[in-house]
Amino acid sequence: MPGSRGQIRVLDAFLASTLVFSALAFTSLLHPAVTPNKQEELGALGSNALIELDENGTLALLIDGRNWASVRESLKLLLPPGVSFNLTVFDEAERPINNSTISNGGLLDRRVMSVQYLCASQGPGSNWYLLRLQLAWAW
């Protein structure tokens, strides 16, 4: 009898510790694979791409011409591979004006970094836009 009592105690202890460790193991899955630094890097990549495109007024020129395909291709070139993006362009009244998606893939189920950018046109019409660029690591 003392032997079986000991076995039961060991089994209880094993069961309890299994519960605790499985909880710890599960929570480690909840922790993001992407560290905060990687997210900041994502934001810097996004704002750098927009600044580079805006440097000589090209960005606003493309938006003035509603040339969404060129905006998408430019961002694909300026952002490194492995970065998914989705750009929404708003006018001054905060109405979205891009009638087609400016994206290179889905952002669903990914940790998204959002960058907001103000863009002014060099044209005499003084058109200004508010851009929201959402970015995520593709893997």
């Binding site: 069961l15 909880a23 900041e40 934001g43 810097a44 996004g46 001054e92 950018y117 863009c119 060099q122």
Partner: protein, 258 residues
């Protein structure tokens, strides 16, 4: 009884053991879920202040260029000031995702500027359209503050010189050389029109005038044409739009070649 009681104690203490483990596991899970929810980055996140400065400076420069293009095409002189006020409001409202951002400005008022704009389209072979303003950008959040003073000055300068050779009667072969500069650097044309003065009127060379435009690729353009221009004085006028849409013009009197 004793055995049952003993076994009962063992079973009861085992249940407490497992129950405690379960409670600890639940606490760990709920704490982690809470921390995960708090750290979820779906909210817009800030990016470095240097990017804010670049974004606002670039936008401000574009606004100044756009306003100069507008005024040089005949828009009201107050356009620059009005646009910069509007831009400042937009920067304050949307310029940064966190923190407080304001931009103030003072448009240049010393001659040749009025409300930040200077237009001089002279008859001495030089014409310029310029805009200038000083800015103060302030940004702060709970931890840091930033104040930056900067100036934006843009100009489109056109320099024109011309020569002509008599071809018999009133006929003359005219060569006009135009140099275009943006911020004192060679710039490219979007469009150029040449006019000559005959009998007190400005006329454009007609289809039969064999007008040829040569682009040297360094902001220098040579325009050649033939026309009947009475008298010994040949005055020409060049009207241009640069690639930014800014208009300028300049007049000059051509030199006669033997």
């Amino acid at each position: 009884m004793g055995v049952v009681s003993g076994m009962g104690r063992v079973t009861s203490s085992g249940q407490v053991f497992v129950l405690s483990g379960l409670i600890i596991a639940l606490i760990i899970l709920s704490t982690e879920c809470y921390v995960y929810e708090l750290s979820s980055p779906w909210e817009p996140s800030p990016y470095p202040a240097i990017d804010l400065v670049l974004m606002v400076q670039l936008g401000t420069r574009h606004v100044v260029i756009g306003s100069l293009a507008n005024v040089s095409r005949g828009g009201p002189n107050q356009t620059l000031v009005e646009n910069l006020e509007r831009w400042g409001n937009l920067v304050g409202e949307y310029g940064y995702q966190l923190g407080r951002c304001t931009q103030t400005f003072s448009a240049a008022e010393t001659p040749p500027y009025t409300s930040g704009i200077g237009i001089s389209w002279g008859s001495n072979g030089a014409g310029f359209s310029v805009a200038s303003a000083n800015f103060t950008l302030r940004w702060s959040d709970r931890e840091t503050g930033l104040e930056l003073n900067y100036a934006v000055s843009v100009n489109t300068t056109l320099l024109v010189e011309g020569t002509y050779r008599k071809t018999g009667g009133d006929g003359k072969d005219v060569n006009v050389t135009a140099h275009l500069l943006n911020e004192e650097k060679p710039a490219l044309l979007e469009n150029i029109s040449i006019y000559y003065r005959a009998s007190g009127e400005w006329l454009a060379p007609g289809p039969s005038s064999n007008q040829i435009l040569t682009d040297y690729g360094d902001g220098t353009y040579l325009i050649s044409f033939s026309a009947d221009i009475p008298g010994e004085t040949v005055e020409v006028s060049a009207h241009i739009y640069d690639r930014r849409g800014v208009y300028a013009r300049a007049n000059t009197t051509c030199t006669e070649l033997p």
